[in-house]
Amino acid sequence: MSALLVLLLPLLAAAGIALVWKKDEEFSAQLSIGAIALGFVLSLGLFAFTPAKPQEFAFNWLAVGDLKISFGFLLDPLSKLMLLVVTGVGLMIHIYSRGYLHGDRSFSRYFASLSLFTFSMLGIVLANNLFMMFVFWELVGVSSYLLIGFWFEKHSAADAAKKAFLTNRVGDFGFILGILLTWLALGSLNFTELASALDGKALPFASLVEPLNRLVGSTNWWTVHPNVLATLVGLLLFMGAMGKSAQFPLHVWLPDAMEGPTPVSALIHAATMVAAGVFMLCRIFFLLEIPGSHALEFIAWTGGVTALLAALMALQQNDIKRILAYSTLSQLGYMVMAVGLHAPGPAMFHLTTHAAFKALLFLGAGSVILACHHEQNIWKMGGLHDAMPRTWWTFRWGTLALCGVWPFAGFFSKDAILASALEHKNIPLFVLGVFVAGLTTFYMSRLVLVAFCGNARSEAASHAHESPGVMTWPLVALALPTLLAGAIGIDAFIAKALPSEHPSPNEGLLNNLFAPFNHNILAAGFGLLAVVAGWQLARTLYTNAMSDPLPEKIGVFAKMARDRFYFDELYAWLIRVTQETLARLADWVDRWIIAGFVVRGTHGTTELVGRVLRLVQTGSLQTYAFLFAAGVVLVLAWQLLGTSPTH
């Protein structure tokens, strides 16, 4: 019952703000912050006191024939953890954005959409069937559309919102097809039913093959093999995650989504929305690892490629928020890679720790931007470490956690992923992981060295001062989990939720600190080695450098990285070639062929026939008489000559 409350509170807040629509900020801020604070407390309660065994309660939302869609909640360790993450980080960001957006004209609209976002995010976390998850999937897409396009007067923001929504929609297209295929094959959409329908059965899709084959087989150039179907289901559902977590082909919308206010980027693109995809993958993990389905390899490699690609792009970005956006992309690639390596546990672990320190980094960046009067280019900052002490040390902790330095949370979760890569004997992915870890340290230290150390590069940066308390306290609050999250055994808690994990017992704080070393020394060692290498390289290049030395060194590669490997141009061209030309063709056909030729054609021919007949009316009696006689003759001839006269 309390889960329902947690879910509905933000919705009520959003509705309340929308209906009352009073212009004063206080009311809307208090309402939505109160709602999410209460939600946080309740989810803490759920997290701590409810039994570990998953409970489920649902009511029938739609029941027609054999389609049974229910609206219910599945409370198991996985969703309880995510509940905590969403409401916890969300609360911090709500408080922070109250300060950040102070005095903005449409303040209450911001908080309304923020509450709507939290509501839909909680919906995804609590959903107990695929269809309900899809419903909230789209609602999250819409609320991110509203939030990214918050400053809709700016062309770039409006376009970014549209782009984000459409790319998400492409992902949702795959997701709905996946749902349809699972429903057709297994008859139900409920997770527990699906799980029970799957275990203990060799190939669930075998029965479906023969009829579908006949039906689709009419194009008989590819026969449907059960493994193909299983992989197809896995990939289609992964496509949904791809859209939401901005994986490789559909990653273009994330950097542009920085157009929204910083707390929005923090909330959406660090902690919650992008994590929804990884959460969904873990939730339907049993569907992905059906024997015979190759979906998981594909997922692993997509994750790996995204991580590498994003890290490379981040090297050359100069906007502080874009660097953090790309780092999120690459960390997400890590998590998806972990899921692909049959290790949803470490993926969720990394997701939780990442939520904390990435939110911290984004909020830190926000306070830096505010301090330098909305200046986002790092080459215009500098020497902020003494001007903004509290932001400085929280930001430094976040960076250390992100790079995976030993005591911080990032180290443990990233090491868990690298360890699972080794266990799974997937050497290329392990090497890629280590390389990306090095790259991460490189670009993060580049950011820190340029933005904070050295001396102020611009007049605005020189007299920057610390942000007000309401903004810095959330930073400090987020800094704690960044330090401790790794060691307090979150991974053990997650392991309980995922059947495929072997639950390692949680033996106290201290030996957890050293668990990764004795667990898999190779992974931990290489991880730390990459970190040190990255740090040294960045230090040599960037200590109080006035401009970026990298372009001369790697020349054209730097330009390509800065322009994001021209994916946007490629997609724009692709759309222009396929959709625009098709649209232009359809419009042309509609205008000329159907409306023009057919309609005007018939109109034209009738007019022509009319004009011809007019010629006959010559007005002279002779022609009429003649026509009359000729008519009679023709009829008689036809009639008489037709039948032979000999009767």
Binding site: G619, S620, Q622
Partner: protein, 101 residues
């Protein structure tokens, strides 16, 4: 070869064609009207011939009625021609082309 029904019918047919020719070729309204009467008589001839060779009188009664109708028709037709003439001062067909579209 004694005269049979076909002979009378051929005469009536030829007379009918003559009348039709007159209607088509002549351009004076009155002459057209006369050729019309000719066609009518051709029909009468055929009817009488049939009544003679089928040995009953209905053919002839038909002719009787046709003649009365023809008379009425001529009267009205001529009145029309007179009215037309009064309006157009010409009885020539080519001048009466107001129906031309």
């Amino acid at each position: 070869m004694n005269v049979g029904l076909e002979h009378y019918l051929t005469v009536s047919a030829m007379l009918f064609c003559l009348g039709l020719l007159g209607v088509i070729l002549r351009r004076n309204v009155l002459v057209i009207y006369m050729s019309l009467e000719l066609m009518l008589n051709a029909a009468n001839l055929a009817l009488v011939a049939f009544s003679r060779f089928n040995d009953n009188l209905t053919g002839q009664t038909m002719v009787f009625f046709i003649i009365t109708v023809a008379a009425a028709e001529v009267a009205v037709g001529l009145a029309l021609i007179v009215a037309l003439y009064r309006k157009r001062q010409s009885a020539h067909v080519e001048d009466l082309t107001s129906l031309k579209l």
